[in-house]
Each structure stands twice: as C-alpha cells, then as structure tokens.
C-alpha cells in the first residue's frame, strides 16, 4: 500500500557550508534532505521511501558542540510503500523455481510464493519453467499475479522487506 506520511527529520549542515543564508540555506537543507531520504531507502515502520512531496516546516538550527555543524529539525510530507500481512496486492513473476516463484511488487523484489501456497498448481520444468493448474492457468515469468501477504520480515542489514505470499483464497492467482 502506498502511504502519504508526515515525518520529522534532522538535516545536518556541515560547518563549512554555513556561509549561505535565507533561500540559499533553505535550498541546501532541501537538497540534503532529498539525498538522505534516497540513501535511507526504507525503515521498518514506514516501509520504502519513494519521494518527498512537501517541506512542511524548517525549525530553528541548533549548533552541535563537537563539530560546529548545525542541525535543522524539519517536517516533510512524502510517499512510502509498505505491505501488511493480510493485504491483497498484484505483482509480477520474476523467477520460477521448483519449490515456488519470486515476485516483484512496487519497490520490493523478493516476495516468495511457495508451491505449497499455490493450490492445484503443478511444476513444469524446462528452459522457461512454469506452474500450471488443470484449468490451464499458467504462472510463469512476467505474468501478473494477485496474491495475499501471509508474512513480512524487515531485514535491517539490507534495509529491505521480504515477504511470504499465498494464492489461498478466492479471486487470487494469475490476472489475465
């Protein structure tokens, strides 16, 4: 799900960049914010960071004693992407293996759909392997799948979300 969030952030301007004032300073703060936002990539609480939409406020700068840098507390609005257990979403198959398939959905690349969660689908090996059920519904690379999320995991080191998904349920499966 895409979320519109309002978040506080601390932007630090190094001492040697502090010769600008007013609009120039504001611009510097915005540029740093955008960079840090992009580098941070994602958090456990809010999911993946997509874009900053508005800078709501810039607070008074506070000098940091050790370094002489100035810290500006800002509040901004932005868009994030977060998935929830029990959520139904659509994604695209990126890889087919004997025991299941990997899907991508939004900025997330590794959603895993186990063959145990694909009721009545059988694996067909080959150069372009696929799963198929007796109604000739095919799950192969680049196919769109509608699934339900059954579990999510935040990977702190990689700053990524991994998820387990399932086709157990009505109206789930390949979307024509």
């Amino acid at each position: 799900m895409f979320l519109k969030v309002q978040l506080p952030w601390n932007v630090i301007i190094p001492a040697d960049s502090l010769d600008s004032e007013g609009l120039m300073l504001q611009r510097q703060i915005v540029i740093r914010l955008l960079n840090e936002f992009a580098v941070k990539k994602a958090t456990k609480d809010h999911g993946y960071f997509l874009a900053v939409t508005t800078l709501e406020s810039i607070g008074e700068g506070r000098v940091r004693q050790q370094t002489g840098d100035v810290l500006f507390p800002v509040v901004f609005s932005g868009i994030t992407f977060k998935i929830f257990t029990g959520e139904i979403l659509e994604g695209v198959v990126v890889k087919v293996l004997k025991h299941g398939v990997f899907l991508k959905c939004g900025p997330i690349n590794n959603l895993y759909l186990s063959n145990l969660k694909m009721p009545d689908y059988n694996y067909f090996p080959g150069e372009n392997p696929f799963f198929m059920n007796d109604k000739m519904s095919k799950i192969e690379k680049d196919v769109t799948i509608r699934f339900i999320v059954i579990g999510t995991k935040w990977m702190e080191a990689e700053r990524e979300v991994q998820a387990l998904v399932s086709l157990d349920g009505d109206y789930l499966g390949p979307v024509p």
Partner: protein, 138 residues
C-alpha cells in the same frame, strides 16, 4: 511480529498509525511520480540518474498497475469511493484491484463485512456500478 494484536489487513488490523494514515491508490501515485519525473527532466539531461531505485521501480509498477490514467478519472474514483464510509486502506485496495462483482469486492476487502458495518450487498453493488461508469468514459 510483536504487539498484542497480530497484524491482519483483512480485518483492518494494521496499527492505529496506519488506520489514520492517508493511503494512495496506484493511479494517484502514478500521477505524482510522473510529475516529479517531468520536473527532473526539465532540470537535468539524465533524470534516471537522479532518482533512487525505489522511485524507479515504484514508477514502473504504478504505471503498469493503474486502472485509471486520466487525472479527472482518478479524482472521480477517489470522490466516489469516499462516499461509502470506507477506511483509507479499504478505499485504495478497491481502487487498485477494481473488483467486478460484490463477491469479488468482499473477497478483496473482507473487513467490509465485519459485524456492525453498514455495507450491505446493495450498497457495494451501487459502488461498483458507479466505478464502472468512470471506466467507460476514461
């Protein structure tokens, strides 16, 4: 998963913060990200270099999975769905998946049928009909 109640979007158990949060449909995000990308194109020769992987993958995703492309249509979808006392989360799931029948809508958003809520089959059918009219005029 810690906490007393286990997360389950099917029952709208997604945490207070997210129940109150504003959610965006894929088609709404597509308009926002496309606009941002255009802004970058005007400022730089190589806009793709300026955006994060997260932005790029998300833009690709919402372009592919937007059921409505026209900004007026997108506005109308939000407007119509807003009349039906839905949580933000539910509204966006419906706007994204565009169920065609009442049965499908309930399967996509089971929380609609939670005890005490006002959504009988007739109301859901009317909502889906109103949505299908937008598609015709897109």
């Amino acid at each position: 998963m810690s906490g007393e109640e286990e997360e389950n979007a099917a029952e709208l158990k997604i945490g207070d913060e997210f129940l109150k949060a504003k959610c965006l449909m894929n088609c709404e995000v597509a308009l926002i990200l496309e606009r941002k990308y255009e802004q970058l194109q005007q400022m730089s020769e190589d806009p793709m270099n300026q955006v994060s992987q997260v932005f790029e993958k998300s833009l690709q995703y919402v372009k592919r999975f937007s059921r409505y492309k026209n900004p007026d249509a997108v506005r109308q979808v939000r407007e119509i769905l807003s009349r039906y006392q839905l949580a933000e989360f539910e509204l966006c799931v419906l706007g994204n998946l565009c169920p065609e029948t009442v049965e499908e809508a309930i399967a996509m958003v089971p929380s609609l049928k939670t005890k005490g809520r006002v959504h009988d089959d007739e109301a859901i059918e009317k909502m889906l009909n109103d949505l299908s009219l937008i598609k015709k005029f897109e």
